[in-house]
């Protein structure tokens, strides 16, 4: 077991030692069991999309088999595999969003699904051109908007409504290059079609179609997911929370919520507040009920309620290994199928709740919009009743937690920026102008969105934290989402005190605006918030966002969702740095298209760089080049 790769993380070391003692298997054991991973898959040159295959072609041009049985070459195979990753990612985000919209369609004044940010409901309705958006009865409007949003997934004509948020210059690029996404499901389906055996073989065409599908995620599924979640559950505002495994409380009933969909999480949070259950927990000898979050559903809950974050992706097993979790409740995405078996090593109940992600091995409670609160009540009850089964001799909670500030939605950021607007100048309130001002003046050199997962190919959280620390030192303000945000939280970067780690300019900005240098903007679908923010900045200056000194970074990505995200970020004109090299190197042509040639028609490109320090150097050159081009 190569625990050395976790040297960076003190919590991990103790957890893995305990796992060994408890005879529990973890991802590192399974990684080791994989031995050396297959070089063909790694290079993306293995194809199994038809039954003549599997075929594998040589990743080295001019050597060995150059074509699959159908005649597909490395370029085609790599492009198709990559495209299908995008389709996988885009569908995950979109299906998540669809559930949110369905929940909105099921809202009623009596709840439990309610409209909690009515102003935002009316704002988005007006943005989408609903007549009487400011006067209609709340729920009638919510249902109308929800229906409209459901249309975004399958409407026969037209492109995504949110695209209009981008400055005209960017919309023109999308139009010209034919990457403005149409209905979300249509883009996924048509991409699956194109990558079927015997369809598209032109790697550039496949790349562009993949890009458009990615765009359907960022400007469609994810953006709908975020905005509608805010309407349903409230737009996040700045608040305090805490992070890392130390937030698990040995004296309470601990319930870990893992996954993505806030529908489930919100109902659980609601149910856990029920005094009846708290009494019940006390009767069982616990001091109360402690909900902790993980991955993106953790992010959703912390952004809106300050719920504590137990950890990020790679810590999902460690959480159970503490021996203090009564129930792990999951919905969809990024949940190890290994968890139920691991839970069995302890008293932990593993409860999967989504029909889309039924996980075999323990318990399944079907969650639906119609019965949401009842489902949550049942789950809480199971967890509370499980408390007496906890084996005290197996409980070991690492004593490490870190205070953190969360909740920086676009709205919350603008709210903070308003505080530095001089009310006597012509500057309006409620804009991002103070941010563009400090970027243009050079007080800060640029902005970076740091997002993405963990990946056992690299030391966990090391790249996240290194990239963030080095960037803020160089006066680059950072926004984070997903597991990168949780890495930042654990490293103490989401605090006001972190300003001391910054360059002079960023420090000054943090002090004046009263923000941490790294801002937690939410879950993976909330990367749409970053898109929105960057586009608002471009709007202030009336330019294509591709011209702004802004980058996207996924230091430790692993999921197909991350691939979809990277695509829409590049498609939105933002250079995107990947710390894990995608499985494309088997096609030098496709690699060049991604990392160089697409700059020509998209105004942005991908950068592959494994070493976080070298990556930061490249980013600084990139940002300064952009500044020079803008004359700032």
């Amino acid at each position: 077991m190569s625990n050395e790769i976790l040297n960076y993380d003190k919590v991990a070391e103790a957890s893995l030692a305990k796992a060994k003692r408890d005879g529990a298997e973890t991802m590192w054991d399974r990684k080791a069991a994989q031995k050396t991973q297959c070089g063909f898959g790694e290079a993306g040159v293995c194809c199994r999309i038809c039954a003549m295959g599997p075929c594998r072609v040589s990743p080295v041009p001019g050597k060995g088999a150059e074509r699959g049985i159908c005649g597909a070459n490395a370029d085609t195979i790599v492009a198709r595999n990559f495209a299908r990753m995008i389709a996988g990612g885009a569908s995950a985000h979109s299906d998540h969003a669809r559930d949110i919209v369905h929940a909105m369609h099921a809202t009623k004044a009596e709840g439990p699904f309610k409209i909690r940010d009515e102003a935002k409901l009316r704002r988005i309705s007006a943005e989408w051109g609903i007549e009487g958006a400011d006067t209609k009865e709340t729920y009638a409007l919510a249902h109308e908007l929800a229906e409209m949003a459901l249309g975004e997934f399958g409407k026969p004509f037209g492109t995504q409504r949110f695209l209009k948020r981008a400055p005209q210059a960017r919309q023109d690029v999308w139009e010209r290059e034919d990457i403005a996404p149409r209905a979300i499901d249509m883009e996924v389906t048509t991409l699956m079609h194109s990558t079927h055996m015997g369809c598209a073989s032109d790697y550039e065409s496949i790349f562009r179609r993949g890009m458009r599908t990615g765009m359907a995620d960022g400007w469609g599924g994810s953006m709908i997911g975020t905005e509608f979640s805010d309407i349903l559950y409230g737009t996040p505002t700045a608040k305090a929370s805490s992070s890392n495994l130390g937030v698990i409380d040995k004296d309470q009933v601990n319930i870990l919520i893992h996954g993505h969909d806030p529908n489930l999480a919100e109902m659980i949070v609601l149910a856990a507040e029920n005094p009846e259950f708290i009494e019940m927990a006390k009767a069982k000898g616990a001091k109360g009920i402690n909900i902790v979050g993980m991955c993106c559903t953790g992010n959703e809950m912390t952004m809106r309620h300050g719920i504590k974050i137990a950890g990020n992706f790679y810590q999902q097993e460690m959480c159970i290994i503490t021996g203090a979790i009564e129930a792990v409740v999951v919905d969809v995405q990024c949940i190890f199928p290994a968890l139920p078996a691991l839970a069995k090593k302890y008293h932990t109940r593993f409860i999967s709740t989504s029909e889309k992600a039924k996980i075999a091995g323990d318990m399944f409670i079907k969650f639906s919009e119609a019965t949401g609160l009842d489902n949550a009540n049942e789950i809480i009850k199971i967890a509370v009743e499980n408390f007496p089964n906890r084996d005290a001799s197996k409980v070991e909670i690492p004593d490490i937690k870190q205070d953190t500030l969360v909740g920086y939605s676009v709205e919350a950021i603008i709210d903070h920026l308003d505080k530095v607007v001089n009310t006597n100048t012509s500057d309006a309130m409620g804009t991002v102008k103070p941010l563009t001002d400090v970027i243009y003046a050079g007080v800060i050199r640029g902005a970076a969105g740091v997002v993405g997962c963990n990946n056992p190919k690299v030391e966990h959280d090391y790249a996240h934290v290194t990239v963030l620390k080095e960037l803020i030192k160089r006066d680059v303000i950072c926004v984070v989402t997903g597991c990168a945000a949780q890495a930042a939280a654990k490293a103490g970067l989401l605090t006001l005190e972190a300003k001391e780690m910054c360059g002079r300019g960023l420090k000054e900005v943090c002090e004046r605006v009263n923000i941490p240098p790294v801002l937690h903007m939410g879950s993976c679908v909330d990367i749409s918030r970053i898109l929105h923010l960057v586009n608002l900045c471009a709007d202030v200056k009336g330019i294509d966002p591709a011209l702004l000194p802004v980058v996207g970074i996924a230091p430790e990505w692993m999921s197909e969702k991350a691939v979809a995200i990277a695509n829409y970020v590049v498609g939105s004109g933002i250079n995107t740095y990947l710390g894990i090299i995608p499985q494309v190197l088997g096609s030098p042509n496709f690699t060049k298209l991604m990392t160089e040639d697409c700059q020509e028609f998209l105004g942005a490109h991908f950068v592959f760089e494994k070493d976080p320090l070298v990556m930061v150097d490249k980013i600084m050159v990139d940002l300064e080049d952009k500044r020079t081009a803008l004359g700032i």
Binding site: S426, Y440, G442, R504, G505
Partner: protein, 314 residues
């Protein structure tokens, strides 16, 4: 040009001028010739505060020039650019000190030039008590002398201490602004380098009242930022040297409000083209709250008028 480029252009120009002036002076008077300001115990106060070095003779200056040049790194970085702003201040202090070698350079000027220690001591108490709620530093030449005068009078009414540099001095006085320490409106001089005499006031305030130790630059900057409620208003087009001086002001924690377009930095550098709003914009930028409520009488009522003598018209 980017903001940092502008700052470096100005600071490099001032560094060059400083070096030239020092070399010329040494050639003319020799290294052992004394250099300094009248009525101060603090040598060249900015250099003394920043480095602890007591400049006494011309021979002490080349080393100071070396330090100021080393502060100008030309790096695209706010901290470095602010240091270049401070270097500009040091340069101006040296240039002004050299001007004093040939006797009082302000003898023929409407400005008073260097502000002596006794004056600063006399201002200390009202500053500490908030009786002087702020220090306005006005610089340049206004396209509209009437509104300029209105601004100065407004500061006067609110009890602020106003320092003036440039042709705005004549412009204001022609428009009926009364000047002098008693009126809390102090003309400093016409050269842009004479703005340094107000920086010198801020720095000596920290030395005298803040008991900050010479050589502890960071402590001085913290003191001026927190305790000296000053801000800068510029009038008319601004050149690179003014931008570099402005960077020095920002380093001290003083916001700069220009009446022309500048690369804005919220809270530190901003544009207010409308002169009728200059005062409110400036006070808000420095978070200055006027203690006394304005009494609605037909003549101006404020502490600034306490020293006024009512003269009989002849």
């Amino acid at each position: 040009m980017s903001l940092t480029d502008l700052i470096y252009a100005g600071s490099n120009a001032v560094a060059g001028l400083t070096e030239g002036a020092v070399n010329d002076a040494i050639e003319k008077y020799g290294e052992s010739h004394a250099v300094g300001y009248p009525d101060t115990a603090y040598f060249l106060p900015i250099i003394y505060a920043a480095t602890g070095v007591k400049i006494k003779t011309l021979g002490d200056l080349p080393a100071a020039v070396g330090i100021l040049k080393s502060l100008i790194t030309n790096k695209d970085d706010l901290g470095e650019a602010l240091n270049a702003g401070l270097a500009t201040a040091v340069g101006a202090e040296i240039i002004e000190a050299i001007r004093y070698l040939d006797g009082d350079p302000y003898a023929e000027d409407a400005g008073i030039g260097f502000v002596s220690d006794p004056i600063i001591r006399s201002l200390g108490v009202p500053l500490v008590t908030g009786d002087i709620p702020g220090i306005a530093v006005l610089l340049g030449e206004s396209a509209d002398p009437k509104t300029l005068a209105a601004i100065v009078k407004d500061y006067q009414e609110k009890g602020l201490l106003t320092f003036m540099v440039g042709n705005i001095i004549e412009q204001a006085s022609e428009a009926g602004v009364k000047m002098g320490l008693d009126y809390r409106v102090i003309p400093l001089g016409h050269e842009v380098t004479s703005v340094i005499h107000v920086v010198s006031v801020a720095i000596r305030t920290a030395l005298i009242f803040g008991a900050v130790e010479p050589g502890k630059l960071a402590d001085f900057l913290a003191y001026t930022k927190e305790r000296v409620p000053a801000f800068v208003n510029t009038f008319g087009p601004i050149d690179e040297v003014v931008v570099a001086v402005g960077a020095g002001a920002i380093a001290l924690g003083f916001p700069v409000i220009a009446d022309v377009e500048v690369p804005e930095v919220p809270g530190a550098l901003m544009t207010q083209a409308d002169h009728s709003k200059t005062v409110e914009t400036s006070l808000e930028s420095r978070d200055i709250k006027i203690k006394v409520t304005k009494i609605d009488v037909p003549v101006s009522v404020a502490a600034a008028f306490e020293g006024e003598r009512v003269r009989k018209d002849t």
